[in-house]
């Protein structure tokens, strides 16, 4: 083989330097004979493998390329002459000991009589493509939160910045939008990620219990406080305390939280010694705190202290393009998790799913897909696999959806007939016992499980007229 064209150039036709042309290509090119000994490798391939063209000349192709395919499933070793080009993906280890992913196209090299005289391989380095793929995949997600809508991309841009700061964060958003996930992400991305992430639902516990849960208590602080207990603030020391449903926090505890945000010291119930907790507060609510402040149901000063950094997660119906992204993500994720072979949606099912308003946001969408994947089991999800309320009752088209009006927080569940703080409760208990015992202090103290002297002391403390 020569470096010039085989055909003699006719008058006026310039001769082509074939190998110089191959050297100018951005892809690797290697030519080898029928015994698979290297005849030529271009500049791009030399750079990629780290071996000069001269050193490669005469060597067997597998010693030059060191491809996985060369050593395990080389197409040139298949019986019979090679007729058509083949393309495959593989990898090589270059002279710098780096593993390089490749796309190789191997084609037979024929002479003028169509006899195979060797092979020509073009080699594409897939590293830039893979980096691009990884970047584009990341563009639609931040940690475990997915989204490609403008609002979510904006959120993904600001979250790392907020995570790195140590200020209090207020996360707002409708139910099911992923407030908990965002709070967790903020913690994981922050410098406190090695510390604890403690979550407490302010709406899930009665006021007295919540106070003890948050701030802890000392032994004897109230009946049943048989030992010292550390509160969640203490447990979250050097980490993040996530207060979910902060809108449901009772006013009395709002004051105590406010004090902590000012002093960074927590005082357990019944204790005099404070604990300086190094805690970052992340709060979340689905309620409209501004409106609650206006209505006097949420302290304005606490709102201002929590609202240092605010992240709002938009509802799914406002996130253009995210429904489709999430539908595709969940169908793949759940069919793998549930061991089903569901590949996607039929046109009609997709139409229904895209038109739905998702008042329960991402949580509801996930549940719908999970239901459909369980029912469908294989193939594509059709309307019959969707929950009945989606197909039968189509009274909730996107345009008619009205968000749930804001309601005042529900009162905390309290024991029947018992209201207010512990002293009030205790006073009421003493009065009840005295009434039942018809004024007999001995019987009343027995009913309460106290010594007579304790009852006498408490009667005096509360100023009860037991006569």
């Amino acid at each position: 083989m020569t470096s010039k064209s085989n055909k003699s150039p006719s008058a006026g036709q310039p001769s082509i330097d074939f190998f110089a042309m191959l050297d100018a290509l951005p892809w690797g090119v290697i030519i080898f004979d029928i015994q698979r000994r290297t005849l030529f490798c271009n500049q791009a391939l030399s750079t990629l493998i780290g071996l000069s063209a001269d050193a490669a000349k005469g060597l067997r192709c597998y010693n030059v390329l060191r491809c996985r395919a060369c050593l395990s499933d080389c197409p040139t070793e298949k019986p019979g002459p090679m007729t058509t080009p083949v393309t495959f993906e593989t990898d090589l280890i270059n002279r710098d000991r780096k593993r390089v992913p490749l796309r190789v196209t191997l084609a037979p090299l024929l002479d003028l009589r169509q006899q195979q005289i060797g092979f020509i391989e073009t080699i594409e380095d897939l590293r830039p493509l893979m980096e691009l793929g990884a970047k584009s995949a990341q563009a639609y997600r931040f940690s475990n939160i997915l989204g490609q809508s403008v609002q979510m991309v904006k959120l993904f841009r600001i979250v790392p910045v907020i995570a790195q700061s140590d200020s209090s964060v207020l996360i707002t958003g409708e139910t099911g939008t992923g407030k908990d996930m965002l709070a967790d992400t903020l913690h994981q991305e922050s410098d406190r990620s090695k510390g604890p992430f403690v979550k407490i639902n302010c709406g899930a516990l009665p006021e007295t219990l919540l106070e003890s849960e948050l701030f802890g208590h000392t032994k004897g602080a109230f009946t049943g406080a048989v030992e010292n207990k550390q509160g969640r603030f203490h447990l979250a020391h050097n980490g993040t305390l996530y207060l979910t449903e902060i809108g449901d926090l009772p006013l009395t505890l709002q004051v105590k939280l406010l004090t902590f945000l000012d002093d960074k010291v927590v005082y357990p119930l019944g204790g005099t010694k404070g604990f300086a907790a190094n805690v970052r507060i992340v709060a979340a609510t689905h309620r409209n705190l501004e409106q609650m402040v206006r209505e006097g149901r949420f302290r304005q000063d606490l709102f201002f202290r929590l609202n240092v950094m605010r992240l709002h997660i938009p509802p799914l119906r406002e996130r253009e393009g995210d429904v489709r992204l999430l539908l595709d993500y969940f169908v793949n994720h759940l069919s793998q998790k549930l061991n089903r072979s569901v590949s996607g949606y039929t046109g009609k099912a997709l139409q229904l799913l895209l038109a739905y308003a998702y008042p329960g946001n991402v949580r509801e969408l996930r549940n719908i897909v999970e239901y459909a994947v369980n029912v469908c089991q294989e193939g594509r999800i059709a309307p019959k696999h969707l929950p009945a309320y989606l197909t039968e009752d189509r009274a909730q088209p996107l345009v008619e959806f009205i968000p749930e009006p804001l309601r005042p927080p529900p009162p905390h569940p309290e024991p029947q007939g018992v209201k207010g703080t512990w002293p009030t409760v205790e006073k009421q208990m003493i009065l009840d016992a005295l009434i039942k015992a018809k004024g007999n202090r001995m019987k009343a103290s027995q009913a309460l499980g106290w010594a007579r002297s304790t009852l006498w002391r408490k009667i005096k403390l509360y100023g009860i007229d037991a006569s």
């Binding site: 597998y62 060191r66 050593l71």
Partner: protein, 116 residues
């Protein structure tokens, strides 16, 4: 008498172009005078860089001679005080003799095509 043990992953009779894809190993032992004392081929159940590393360390070899090797595996072996002579091309027994004579270096091409 000081002897040196060496591992050469094989591809046929040649030094394997890839350490991680070799299914046979030539284990050689040579003395200070460059004489080959032991030369035997070990068969592996399948290609595995981890298994080869483990073998090399448990057999207390002083050197591994191979073609391509991942940087991670190279670092591991050198950390375990195993000399790695990589990017070597040529027939394994010829390479072993070169090594025994103290004439083998990283990147040596001892292929017959190059020698002729």
């Amino acid at each position: 008498m000081t002897t040196r043990k060496v591992f050469i992953p094989l591809h046929g009779e040649e030094v394997a172009p890839r350490f991680d894809l070799a299914t046979e190993v030539l284990m050689g032992e040579c003395d200070a005078e460059g004489r080959i004392l032991i030369e035997k081929v070990l068969l592996l159940p399948g290609p595995s860089a981890e298994r080869l590393c483990h073998m090399a360390i448990s057999e207390r070899v002083q050197a591994v001679i191979c073609g391509g090797i991942d940087q991670e595996v190279y670092d591991y072996l050198t950390w375990k005080r195993v000399e790695v002579i990589d990017n070597v091309i040529g027939p394994a027994s010829f390479v072993l003799r070169h090594y025994a004579a103290g004439r083998l270096h990283t990147g040596d091409i001892l292929s017959s095509a190059k020698r002729s």
